[in-house]
């Protein structure tokens, strides 16, 4: 039996699967707005004349989604991104008009990218809805126990902070007496309050335990799980905050050092095996340990996603795409030493230096982003470790890591192909 080559397999996987399409070409061509839009494309007239149904369908479906996608992106920026970055990323109407213009160009260049974004938005919203439902259920089941656990956790933090402020023997020697007294009083007050809350909780549990022995042990177990759920909440908030700090850094300050940090961390993480899952429950609820762990996780995820975004993003017009392709071709050739054009480091350096010089001179956040994404295509060394990452089939980030690796192996991968490869 003849075996399929890798190229044949890719072609087969990329082939559009539309056994039964309800699309009617007349429906699209009778829409005067769409035909006028189609005619603006380089190959528009030819498409209209030849009535290439398959291609017209791809573009028509994407065309219909442009307004919805623009509205989705607008909502994302005006709501979540602005809020999560503390107002550091705020776009004006001009930027949104530019985004609409870009999406309209995308209809002709890569129409499926528009539906892909829509799917990302839908998946994100769906996950948020599930999270909201889950949180509500936790609150319902928790009853009066949850506020008490929250109160205790806040008091514990206050005690820890007061203890720190109180200082040790050496630092206390250099503090004024009244400052020491104030700090001691603060510490004592917080400790007393904590004790009271713990006694209240114990008495609630003790009363129940007296009444029903079994119920007492269930209470303890229940409390543990509620504490875990609330802890997971806190960790998630911290993770989001750290992500947004990185994102805001890219646009507001043009600080791409976070990317290098991410790449370094990713390499370091590889040696440790499975570390990608946020191990909320394995960190003994130690905030410091969690924060350190989160920095690694967030940076690693950001690295994965930056590489995927840079490789799949349609950053503007043909000249820009030509430039990206040219940079990639050159650095790859230089790395192999083809044509005696010198070493890879020199090639990287030339492009990177130029990009950094221009980045230093520009204030426009969108331009810094474009340059930053271009810079990603100049760093083949950073993509290699992630591609060699061990399979992590069970965790969510493992699935995404697989997608990133699959994506890096192709010039322009599709999610479907990446997903099928991961499954295979």
């Amino acid at each position: 039996m003849a075996r399929l080559s890798a190229r044949d397999l890719d072609a087969e996987l990329d082939a559009p699967q539309r056994p039964e399409s309800s699309f009617r070409i007349e429906q699209a061509l009778n829409n005067p707005e769409f035909t006028a839009f189609l005619a603006q494309a380089e190959d528009g007239q030819e498409l209209i004349e030849t009535k290439d149904a398959s291609e017209i369908e791809r573009r028509y479906n994407a065309y219909l989604l442009v307004d919805l996608t623009t509205a989705d992106i607008k909502e994302l920026y005006q709501d979540q991104i602005r809020r999560d970055t503390g107002g550091e990323i705020q776009l004006d109407d001009r930027a949104f008009q530019g985004m609409e213009a870009h999406l309209r160009e995308l209809v002709h260049r890569r129409p499926e990218a528009i539906a892909e974004f829509g799917r990302d938005v839908a998946t994100y919203r769906d996950t948020q809805a599930k999270i909201d439902q889950g949180r509500q259920r936790v609150e319902q089941l928790g009853g009066s126990l949850i506020p008490m656990i929250r109160e205790r956790s806040q008091l514990k933090e206050r005690v820890a902070a007061a203890k720190k402020a109180k200082g040790n023997f050496v630092t206390r020697m250099f503090k004024r007496a009244d400052t020491k007294r104030a700090k001691d009083a603060e510490f004592d007050a917080a400790s007393r309050e904590l004790q009271q809350v713990q006694e209240r909780m114990r008495s609630v549990q003790a009363q129940r335990a007296e009444l029903r022995t079994m119920e007492g042990s269930l209470d303890a177990l229940q409390e543990k799980f509620f504490t875990d759920a609330l802890w997971a909440d806190e960790v998630k908030d911290q993770a989001q905050q750290r992500t947004m700090n990185l994102l805001a850094g890219y646009t507001a300050r043009g600080d791409f050092s976070a990317y290098d940090k991410a790449a370094t961390l990713t390499r370091r993480v590889q040696g440790g095996g499975e570390t990608s899952r946020i191990q909320y429950l394995d960190t003994a609820h130690d905030p410091q340990q969690v924060l350190e762990h989160l920095d690694t996780i967030v940076a690693e995820r950001m690295h994965d996603e930056l590489v995927v975004t840079a490789e799949t993003a349609d950053l503007g017009s043909e000249p820009l795409n030509d430039l990206r392709a040219s940079i990639a071709t050159f650095t790859q050739a230089a790395e192999r030493g083809a044509g005696g054009r010198g070493d890879a480091q020199a090639a990287d350096r030339l492009v990177r230096e130029t990009l950094e010089e221009v980045m230093d001179d520009t204030e426009d956040p969108a331009k810094r982003l474009v340059l930053g994404f271009l810079r990603l295509s100049v760093r083949p060394a950073t993509a290699a470790p992630a591609a060699a990452r061990p399979a992590r089939a069970t965790s969510a980030s493992g699935r995404r890591g697989g997608r990133a690796a699959a994506s890096r192996s192709q010039a322009r991968p599709t999610r479907r192909r990446a997903a099928r490869r991961t499954t295979a």
Binding site: I131, A232, A313, L323, L350, L355, V358, L369
Partner: protein, 96 residues
């Protein structure tokens, strides 16, 4: 952004004319972005935001979904224990 002559860029690099290649690259990169190119950058950022947040949310949801059935079970067991306790109370009062 103006058109980029890929062929010339590669030729310059092959000929070791590093400064000229750099200048060529710089000229192209320094050009103003069109509104659509700016839009493309913000579109890419939104996509990055969505994917990173989605990844974190999935992991959080995983934890939540792991905990919820346990909490539901405890809730049920507690309900049963309470019912049994009440039954025992009634039996006790009847026996007395």
């Amino acid at each position: 952004m103006q058109a980029f002559d890929t062929q010339r860029f590669t030729q310059l690099l092959a000929a070791g004319k590093r400064d000229e290649a750099k200048q060529m690259l710089k000229t192209v990169l320094s050009a103003e972005l069109t509104p659509a190119e700016q839009g493309a950058a913000y579109h890419a950022l939104a996509q990055l935001y969505l994917r990173v947040q989605q990844g974190l949310s999935e992991q959080y949801l995983e934890i939540l979904q792991e905990l919820l059935p346990k909490l539901e079970t405890i809730d049920q067991l507690k309900g049963q224990a309470q019912d049994q306790g009440k039954l025992a109370d009634v039996r006790g009062s009847l026996a007395a």
